[in-house]
Each structure stands twice: as C-alpha cells, then as structure tokens.
Symmetry: C2
Subunit: 356 residues, 2 copies
C-alpha cells in the first residue's frame, strides 16, 4: 500500500504527538460547495450520486482541494443499510429521508433479511476503494455508518420524526422485539464497516444522530450497548495500523463517561458540551472530536477565529483532539467561512503541541 | 383570599414534608383531551382561545376534573410577549408559531416598544384572575412565560427553526444588539410574570425551550443570565406565601449546577437526565420537577406504572420532587394513559414520604 503522508488524524486518535491539531468537517463534501452542487446536478438525485462511483469519489475529494483538511470521509448516506434490507430509501425535495416500507412489529423485525454488505452495498465498497486509490496516501479515509438505534428510528418511523413515538412505542411496549431489531442492525453494521475497512477505510465513525432523544438508561440499553457490540466486532488493524473507531452521539453530552468506556478510540462531541470539561471527565480513555457550533460559520471570519482559539484553549495542550464541527456543516455556509475555520485551526493549534 | 386546600406543590417546591409527591403535566390543558378539542372548536383558532377569558378558564380546569392533579397552569402561549410587542403572532395549521414581523438588526431591537403587561396583555391577566377564582383554593395556579432567549429565537427567526441560524448570526456577530434584545425581553418577562402574580398566580415557570441549542458558555451568557435577572425581579410573596419560580431548560441537563444557582426554587428536567443523578448534583439547593419521557404515555398502562415507580425510586425519599413529564404531553396520547400515569404517582409515591 501507498504510505500515508499525513497521519495526523490517526496519531491524534491514538493520542500520539502531532505537530498541530488535525481537522475535518462532518458533511465536508456537501451542498455548501458550488463544485459539489455542479457534480450533484450531473448525477441527478442524492442517492444516484452515492451510487455513482466516479462522482462519489469526485465529491469526496472536492473539499480536500480547497482546504488543508486532515481526512477524507466517504461520501454516502447513513441509511444505506435499511435501504439494502429492502425498505426503499428515497428523498423528497426539502424533506428528510423517507422509507417506502417500515418495520413496526415483531413479525416485521423477524422478516428482515441478513445483510451481505459486499454484495448488497457493493456500490459503497466500490466508492471506498476508488476514493482510497485516488487519495494516494495524502490523508486517511474515514468510513462510517449510522448507529443501530438511529437506523431503527428511521426504519420504524419511515423517516425523520419529531417525537419518535413509533420507535418508542416498540421500545417501551415490546422491548424484546426492539432488541432483536437492534441486534440484527448491529450485526449488519459490523459487516458493513468491516467491508469498508477491507475496501480501504482507515478509520470509522458511527453516527448516533438520535441517541440523545432517549432517557439515560434507555440510551445505555438501546443505543450504546449495540455500539459497543459493533466496536468489539470491528477489524481493528489494516496495513499494519490500528483502525480507530469514533462514536458520535448528538446530545450525548450527559453520558460521556459511559461512551468513553465503549471500547471506541474517540468520542465525537456536539457543540453543547464544553470540550475542556469533557476532557476532564474522560481522562486518558479516549480522544475527543469536535466541537464548534456549525452556526458559528455564519459569523464573520474574525469571530470564527476567536471561537477556534477558545476551543483550542479549552482542550489545552497535548494530543487527543481532532477538531471538527459539532454537527454537519450547514448547506448555506459561505465556503470562505469554512476556509477561515480550517485555517484558524492550522495556524493556532501548533502552540498546543510544542514539546517544552 | 380563599385558603389553599391542596398545597402539595408549594410545599414540595419549598422542600417541606408532603404526604405524597405532587404531580401535574406540562400542556395538561391540551389537544389530547376530547373536551379541550370541543371547547377549542367553539373558540376558533388557538390564539382566540387564549384571548377568550371564559373558554381559557374552561380548558384550564378540564384536566383537573378528570385527574387528581396538584396544580393548574394558566392556558396561554409562550409567545404572548412578542405578539404584544407588535410582531404579529399567528399559527398555520400543522406548523409551529409564526410572526409576521421579525427582529434582525440592532435598529429593529431599539425600535421595540416597552411592554405594559397589565394593559397590553390584559387578556392574560383576566384569564389568571378568572381561573384563580374558579379554582376556589382547590389547587395552586401556575403562571408562566417563555425565557428571553427562547422568545428572542422566535422573534429573530420569525418562527420555529432547525438550526437557529438567524438568532445565532445576531448572537455571534452582534452580541451587543443581542444583549439589548434579551435585556429588553427580561424586563418584559418580569413585568409580565409580576402582573400574573398580582392577578393570582401562586407559582411561575419560565420555559427555556431552546436554551439547549447553545454552547455551554453561550447558554450562561445569553440564556441563564437573563433568567437570573427575571428571578431576581419577581414579586416573591403573595397572600402571605412565597411565590416559587421554576426554570425549565429543555436539553439543559449538562448545566444543572449553574441552573440550580440561579435563585429559582426548582429546576425542571427533561427526560434525558437521570433525576437521581440530578438530585446528587444540585444537593439541597432546589427542588426538581420532572421527568418521564412523554412518549412513555404511548406504552401500555402497566409499563407507564413501572416507569413512574422507577423515577420515584431514582429520586428517593423526602420532599423536593414535583412529578411531571419531561416535556409537554403529546396531542395523540390516550387520556386513559395520562390517567394511569397520574394514578401511579398518587399510589406509589406515599412510600417515599413516610416519616420513620
């Protein structure tokens, strides 16, 4: 394999010394970039873009051409697994993802097929290997999946939800059926992420977008438990290097100690958590990724720079911080503001990594 | 004044002994009740119902006729103040609240009139005094307001928001203008709540629905700071009794220690926070209100009862707990399930209040 030229991300995830804090942005290949919108127009809809290997590769690389980012992340969707399980994912303009079929009963759960990621999601693996080749060792490639709980909410509700009432009805009223669904999804995610790792992913992130709508005990029992199972089932070495796993639970700030015990290498923080307090709480157990408010990118560039300085100071000296937004970048952000954010990290962070 | 027959709420808010844990539900006068829907159909739209004194009184009392609740809460909306400030509140079917005018610049902020709650919101004060009379001392009446930050988000965005980008643009880009707006709103809320207290409210709650979308430092600076100002400005005695203040910040679980230092008598918890941990964190500073997941009311009644038992056990023995949902009751809940919830609290909680 080609040697990895920039391994800041992998080193920071392992809490090894780095020259500066690595930085990438969730949803960095996205609608805020005019070049993304141009490619997407060629592909047609969002899912067609995910399934078109050369174009998915093209949009993955676009932000790296603009900014000195320290990682690429596979261009795909968190809901590819339920789609492959036969639920029929589609997107309506101006609305979130939807499924043609839903899973609402124990019988629906038991009728779900077994995922064979290499076959059923071959377009994802093609994208991973193509992107990995195109990166040519410049930066590592992050693979990803939705968490079992998050996938389950969409599968049960049939799309986004305000109150997750159908998912919670199943969880509170038929917990055994919910556990069977989550266990099936955990197995599917293990297969999916391991296929991505075999295809070339050098780190993986699990997006638990909706773990934060649960009570503390239900988060442990219905979300974190299955993310732990996934982490325990991952291939953890590739090309002689450890393949780190990052868990990101939006609104999970109250449960950091538990998440840090999951076996993952890093915990992703949304912007509501003070990263300095988070570091005190998790100690040396994990690296921390995050966590600027994505809405800060609507502020003037000098204000963005101040905020980057503040977050760096809150984290403090030493490795173990991967700078990111606290959530995906918002579509209407000015690319110049994203550039100011990334430049500020590259310029201001070396001071926190000097060996004295 | 008529003597208060059931003062469990006021006693629990003061952490004085009670025979059982008091219980009420946020949005207890609401669409889940068929009798509410019938009254609302007579009134026309939601705002007309708020402004119709006899009908607002009627819907406030409806849940008390069905259930052994320990408090009534004024039937009104959190956005009455911006409406009175000239923004033009309206509701479109199936959507959240909207404003005809928005406040987006320093000039817009400085052009806002000064609220005279007794005059500009006389319909609220008429409702308060009418309800208080109709209650005839059976249970205390809770008045309420939105928090300055929450009011500001609606005023700036012109309605609900997914990412609060306009509010955050003003906050991050022109913090002085945002502070002037929030200070103006804090003064307005003080006037509004004091008018409610003079009209008969025996406790007040401040709803900070959107404080949880802020970073930790911004929550302190742009939301909590102004709620503290309000608490400090409230009339704190009426009819010879203390008028307690409850602060409820949705998704505020990470900041409980700070909220408990606000001068408020109680902190409202959403369902994501473990009420036992919360009690450890705030110690004897405040009472705690909450916090069953509102979606639990879609589960079978025996499951609801188990959850009530669990929350009571987590809080533990002694006073200082006001049972509630962690958010407003959902419109499609079966009233029988709400009844099972309230009955479980009344039946299971006395064991936690025995003096040995």
């Amino acid at each position: 394999m080609t040697e990895l030229k920039n391994d800041r991300l992998l080193r920071a995830l392992a809490r090894q010394p780095v020259d500066r804090t690595p930085v990438w942005m969730m949803r960095q290949a996205g609608r805020y970039l005019p070049e993304y919108r141009a490619t997407r127009a060629k592909a047609g809809d969002f899912l067609s873009l995910c399934k078109n290997t050369p174009l998915a590769c093209e949009v993955t690389l676009q932000p790296l051409e603009r900014y000195p980012l320290d990682a690429a992340i596979l261009f795909s969707d968190i809901l590819t697994i339920p789609d492959a399980l036969g639920l029929g994912l589609y997107f309506e303009t101006g609305e979130g993802p939807k499924f043609r079929n839903t899973v609402r009963s124990a019988a629906d759960v038991d009728a779900l097929p077994t995922l064979k990621a290499d076959v059923d999601l071959d377009y994802v693996m093609n994208a991973v290997s193509t992107i990995r080749g195109a990166l040519n060792g410049s930066v590592p490639l992050i693979g990803f999946s939705g968490s079992p709980w998050t996938l389950a909410t969409y599968m049960i509700e049939g799309g986004s939800s305000k109150d997750f009432r159908e998912a919670k009805k199943l969880m509170y009223g038929q917990p055994e059926a919910m556990h069977r669904l989550l266990d099936h999804l955990a197995d599917s995610v293990i297969d999916y992420l391991n296929s991505q790792i075999r295809a070339g992913a050098q780190a993986v992130q699990i997006f638990d977008t909706w773990g934060g709508v649960l009570t503390g005990w239900a988060y442990e029992e219905f979300s974190l438990r299955y993310m732990k199972k996934i982490v325990a089932g991952l291939i953890r070495e590739s090309d002689g290097r450890h393949v780190p796993a990052i868990l990101f639970t939006k609104n999970g700030g109250q449960w950091l100690e538990s998440i840090a015990e999951s076996g993952a290498d890093a915990v992703g923080l949304d912007w509501t958590t003070d990263i300095g307090h988070a570091r005190q709480r998790v100690g040396d157990k994990v690296a921390l990724q995050g966590n600027m408010d994505p809405a800060m990118l609507f502020a003037p560039p000098e204000r963005i720079r101040e905020e980057v300085a503040d977050i760096l100071a809150r984290y403090g000296t030493g490795s173990g911080h991967i700078f990111n937004l606290g959530h995906g970048i918002t579509p209407d952000v000015d690319p110049e503001h994203a550039g100011a954010f990334i430049r500020a990290v590259t310029e201001l962070s070396p001071a926190y990594h000097r060996e004295d």
